[in-house]
């Protein structure tokens, strides 16, 4: 019952904040609403027994990515021009709406294989202690993608530095 209540609160908050990101005229406010959307998604992760991911979400999205975006908003002077749309407004709305209808009908029609009742107790046990299982998974089964992700981040940081650096005359 409590979970039900929090789900609806978080769902409405995240959808409203996402609509604000797309619709608000002031880009700086849009960036702040994006922070709100990230926070409510972190709450949804907690509802889904993914506490570690919720903390990662707060640290990386709320802490790092939004600060980066706000810095970019402040560094560019286009803020005064507001948040204009291009001429594709109607086709984009129809396209996004159609995609949403397709996804929803697929979600509703599929019969999802739920966790069998014999192993439900074990599954609950796993979901109560996700961080240690995730550590095992990341450093054993997914060790290679894990290292690839670290190389990717290093390359991205180097690329960003090279792109932003002042050109020598």
């Amino acid at each position: 019952m409590v979970q039900e209540f929090f789900f609806w609160v978080l769902a409405v908050t995240s959808v409203m904040a996402a609509l604000g990101v797309v619709g608000v005229q002031d880009i700086f406010r849009a960036a702040l609403l994006l922070v709100l959307a990230f926070l409510s998604v972190a709450g949804l992760f907690i509802l889904l027994n993914a506490e570690f991911l919720a903390v990662v979400q707060v640290l990386i999205y709320v802490g790092a990515i939004s600060v980066l975006i706000i810095f970019a908003v402040l560094l560019t002077r286009d803020v005064e021009q507001g948040n204009p749309s291009n001429r594709l407004r109607l086709p984009a709305f129809v396209g996004a709406g159609l995609l949403f209808l397709m996804l929803t009908s697929a979600i509703v029609r599929t019969s999802w294989p739920e966790i069998p009742s014999e192993s439900l107790a074990r599954a609950e046990e796993v979901f109560a202690t996700t961080p240690q299982w995730l550590a095992g998974l990341l450093l054993r089964e997914w060790a290679l993608p894990f290292e690839a992700a670290s190389v990717l981040l290093l390359a991205a940081v180097l690329g960003a530095v090279v792109l932003i650096r002042e050109r020598q005359p």
Partner: protein, 117 residues
């Protein structure tokens, strides 16, 4: 119903983000809408990992070994990699936006047409 409502919420967020990516002219807003889409995908991945049984568990419901049960968390691992890739993407994307702004004094992507001329 519990899984479906998380997936439908994810679909709503994804559609909003897609609309923003397609219509906005400010490159920074496009990146922000892209982040909303990434978050929608993450919600879907984590909800699937919470509610759906992996094939190995369906074939043999009594299996409770570590390797089988760890598959329950595959969605969360996917979400973690998506977050890492999103961080790299936003760092590079904003670097490109700043570089373009320095060169053209604008972040309006309809004005950036160097490749067309």
């Amino acid at each position: 119903m519990t899984l479906e409502r998380f997936l439908i919420l994810s679909a709503v967020l994804f559609a909003i983000g897609l609309y923003g990516v397609l219509t906005k002219r400010n490159a920074i807003t496009i990146l922000m809408s892209l982040e909303v889409m990434f978050n929608a995908v993450n919600v879907a991945a984590v909800a699937m990992s919470r509610y759906i049984a992996p094939a190995a568990l369906r074939a043999d419901p009594s299996a409770t070994g570590d390797s089988v049960v760890q598959m329950l968390l595959t969605g969360q691992v996917f979400a973690m990699f998506i977050i890492a890739v999103a961080a790299a993407e936003v760092a590079l994307g904003l670097a490109i936006v700043i570089a373009v702004y320095r060169y053209r004094e604008t972040v309006d992507i309809t004005q950036v047409n160097l490749m067309r001329r």
